[in-house]
Assembly symmetry: C2
Homo-oligomer: 199 residues x 2
């Protein structure tokens, strides 16, 4: 298996984390965005969106971090990570949507403004991010995991950019339930840290 990868990308890290939790070996290929590696014809053939991560597994090529999580869970995981029953699958998917919406366009973008000097509106990113932190904090008050009574790909999808929130200038000190959930993930067998997640 080959992962087109970038060390500082939280979306790539969630795939590395999932592969590690599943105990799967893979080969990481560094895509240098500064060098324009993601805009070459050969990379655009793999992913027409020109983004990392991309997973190559034999002749299967999957782009998009959420789609890759679903692929890995279905191909190498079990229904524990992604159940097939309609209601349970939808409950997992709700939080996959949060990862792709408020967490990406709020928390991750706030971080990218600071770290990578991206041209987005910090106030809008903060508002979007803080709104979902409040929702998550309340939701996690009496729960260990986001979607079900066990870890699922919902937790893996949401974790990186929530854990990286302080790099976007937003403290997690006021969110004890979120901090406890972060600890739960960090205690999963096979957990690996992202080097840039602040201690």
């Amino acid at each position: 298996m080959k992962l087109y990868d970038m060390p500082l990308s939280g979306n790539c890290y969630k795939i590395r984390l999932m592969l590690s939790l599943l105990g799967k070996e893979y080969h990481s290929v560094n895509v240098d965005l500064k060098n324009g590696d993601h805009q070459t014809p050969s990379f655009l053939k793999l992913n027409p969106r020109g983004q990392v991560p991309v997973l190559e597994d034999g002749d299967t090529v999957i782009w998009d971090s959420t789609a890759i999580l679903i692929y890995l869970a279905r191909r190498y995981g079990s229904e524990s990570w992604l159940p097939l029953e309609a209601r349970e699958m939808a409950e997992v998917t709700q939080w996959l949507a949060v990862a792709q919406n408020e967490i990406l366009y709020g928390l991750a973008r706030a971080r990218a403004i600071i770290l990578f000097n991206r041209p987005w509106d910090m106030q809008q990113c903060r508002e979007t991010g803080l709104a979902i932190l409040r929702v998550m904090e309340q939701h996690l008050q009496h729960r260990h995991w986001l979607a079900l009574d066990r870890p699922t790909i919902a937790d893996i999808a949401c974790y990186p950019y929530v854990a990286l929130t302080p790099e976007g200038g937003i403290t997690l000190d006021d969110y004890p339930a979120i901090l406890a959930w972060i600890k739960n993930i960090e205690h999963l067998p096979g957990y690996i840290a992202m080097t840039s997640i602040s201690p």
Copy 2:
């Protein structure tokens, strides 16, 4: 079944369309955002994000349009709409991600700036939207449907805000493959139009 609904929302329309394609009866409850209906304690109990659509099916409550599509496909559809095989499921999910990312934050937001006077950056929305239209146009050159050789929830998720693109000031005239794909969807048995989609 009860759908918390708003006529002008493309995300609500995609659920109405899916329910119609599946031939399912339901009761529509209008949520008046101008009146703050989405911020009442009773609504926030259904959906802590305070957004439409929300689907109530017996004691099952699902928020988020993508999660609702997945729920309906698993509960009332068949694997035709959402296959369970790893690679095929991931291929559907890739386009669900596009619907939640570039289509929502590009095309749908451009429309919301014009129709609802929302405070977003039109140039960024246009750039994001045009980039994904180019990707879709190329992808659809020799295909009838986005993900597989048949319609799936990927098509239903992407269709509304792509078809509504002209309401955001972006013409689809330069995208003949996208226009042909739109026609394919409009010919599905059970198709219903969204009244605000321009003729």
